[in-house]
Symmetry: C2
Subunit: 140 residues, 2 copies
């Protein structure tokens, strides 16, 4: 199963370790096309590889289109995550958003009030393990 994981990059990398743990959990179910979102130093790696913003955009959108399901960590406000959610909903992909309610920012009404995405609140990756299992099984 091809999975797209979405997390903040330029919006802020405070949660990169958490993204890595969520990617690990998702990799038990399939291929996480965007696994680099969960690794430190992604921006340096992209720069070293000579990727332009156009290259990054085109690759991400191609992976998003290829993916059977989309899982996003939405606690850190991010234009890129929001953009990917908008494209995923337009393509009618199954979308699961994970949000930590002790965050600085309330979750956007465009996500929380969105009938086309599922939202799960959690505190630790361990708490979402069964949610991911169930979401994957439902869309396999």
């Amino acid at each position: 199963m091809d999975i797209f994981f979405s997390g903040s990059i330029r919006g802020g990398r405070d949660d990169v370790d958490l993204y890595g743990k969520l990617v690990d959990l998702l990799q038990q179910h399939g291929t996480v096309l965007s696994e680099h979102v969960g690794t430190e130093g992604i921006e340096a790696d992209q720069k070293e590889a000579g990727l332009s913003d156009g290259d990054i955009h085109d690759q991400d959108v191609a992976w998003l289109q290829q993916a059977e399901i989309v899982v996003a960590e939405v606690t850190t406000p991010s234009l890129g995550v929001g953009y990917e959610l908008g494209r995923a909903v337009a393509w009618e992909k199954p979308v699961l958003c994970l949000y930590r309610p002790d965050a600085e920012h309330e979750l956007s009404a465009m996500v929380r009030g969105n009938g086309a995405v599922e939202v799960t609140e959690y505190r630790t990756p361990a708490e979402v393990e069964s949610v991911l299992d169930e979401f994957v099984r439902r869309h396999r």
Copy 2:
């Protein structure tokens, strides 16, 4: 001309005065369906009006679909702004993004590397007046 203006709400309201000035400029060219994005106290107003997150989402997406052009202020990272950009691009709407390069966050590659949106960098609303004129004229 129906115009959708997009700016951060729950992602942070530091730029609300600026959003108000951009809405004023856009109102010289048509109807800004989402003009409330540029007003203080929007969240209190929505609460007082008894709007649920679902109501807010549904109204915003309906306005976005109705709009002939979309203008977004993208300096403050925001899930909602990103989501609206994703839906607007999927609908092939003309999209103009305004970004202040002295910002804390670099602009997302999903916006800057996106061939389907135009990006203008600026410092003050006065600087974008002619950009808005030209963008509106091109899509009227």
